[in-house]
Amino acid sequence: MSKGFNNTYTRHSSEPGVNSAKVIYWSSITRKLRWTLLIILILLTLITLNTGPGRLSDPVSVSKGMIPDLIEIKEPKVHGRLSSGNAFTFAAEQGTIADKGNNELVMQDLDAFYNLDKNALVRITAQTGKLVQSENRLWLEGEVIAEHSDGRKIKTQAVEIWSGSNGIIARGSGLAKIEDPSITINSRGFSIDTATQKVLLKGPISMRGNQN
């Protein structure tokens, strides 16, 4: 695939016997703009996660006459804002949009930033991130690391994040290492519920720290 993805895409056909066909299409400026706007609109829908508007930093083009089942995007970047007003940015090496009735955006080598209150920042990196708009869920897998600007850090293998009735719920499975300037926690999974303000660590758990 060409480096310049603005006008390049990979189409995976659903027709039998045609698994994948790479088509490079150069459209007229008018058509390109029209499809670009359409794709941006789709992506905006995908990333909202009940959170508010977001936008791709770079547009993409698609074939004329049909919307492909699957669109691969090189180095996608998504900007948005949570319903709370906090801004976020998703950047990835590669992204895939799949319309399987549930609107999925899959990102490889994800690097996400969330601006929190009082100038605090959370950075999340993962090998894979999957956003499913129909379920309001985000899955992160493979070397998931969440770092808070205050020095706290969570390392784990898989995290599922979704919108609950009153807040955000995050559930991590597998080994998790939580590091704080004063304490280090190892557990076999965790859950965080912002509505109930409960953090649950699953055992076996070890916490090592310095009280002072």
Binding site: S187, K198, V199, L200, L201, I205, M207, G209, N210, Q211
Partner: protein
Amino acid sequence: MKVYGAVILLFALTALTHPSNAERFLPSGDSSISLDAADSVEWDQKKRTFLAAGKAVVSRGDLILKANKISANYRDGKDKKIEIYQIIAEGNIEIKNKEDRATSNFAKIDTDTGSIILSGKNTSYWNKNIKLIANEEIEYHTNDQRAFARGGIEISTASEVIKAEEVVYDLEQQFAEVFGNIRITRGNNVLLGAMASFDFKSGISRISGSNTKNPSSSGRVRGVISPQGKP
């Protein structure tokens, strides 16, 4: 009788929450605290509680607290750091440091009142010199330096076994009082009474047939003294 040995461990308990007291028991510079749990740890930020379940172990230096469940209540301390003011442990509790060990089914440590309560079945304390068993509870108040043990008490040393219903010990005065159905056994010698006192400063001990806590009870001190050595 050296009841004061029992309070060493109770002092040590406060090391979990009072770093100043910890200096007495922990190596200098070692203030690290650790927690292990087999099942789960829950942090409720609304209720301001921690709950560790399943073979929970809290340790700091040589001091170790084990229980089926350990919960802690906290509040904001200096610099908004978490300040734990109460710890409650339940089920198969074991507390130990280098020299002392205690067991119980329930423990409550309150740093505001400076009290430590061990209660339930298997409430006991021992070190190399003494073993204390209490069917109801062992209680220690750091503020006034007093310790209590209640219910079916048995104190064993290398030379004596003392049974009673209640023990009150004043650490500052080094003075202990023992109440109710007292039975002091030393070898083949047995003394029975209702109340006894032990002054560790003067070395004077007294045993009485009357219990000041129960005026209706009056009686005499009885004893069986066996001659020393073979006849």
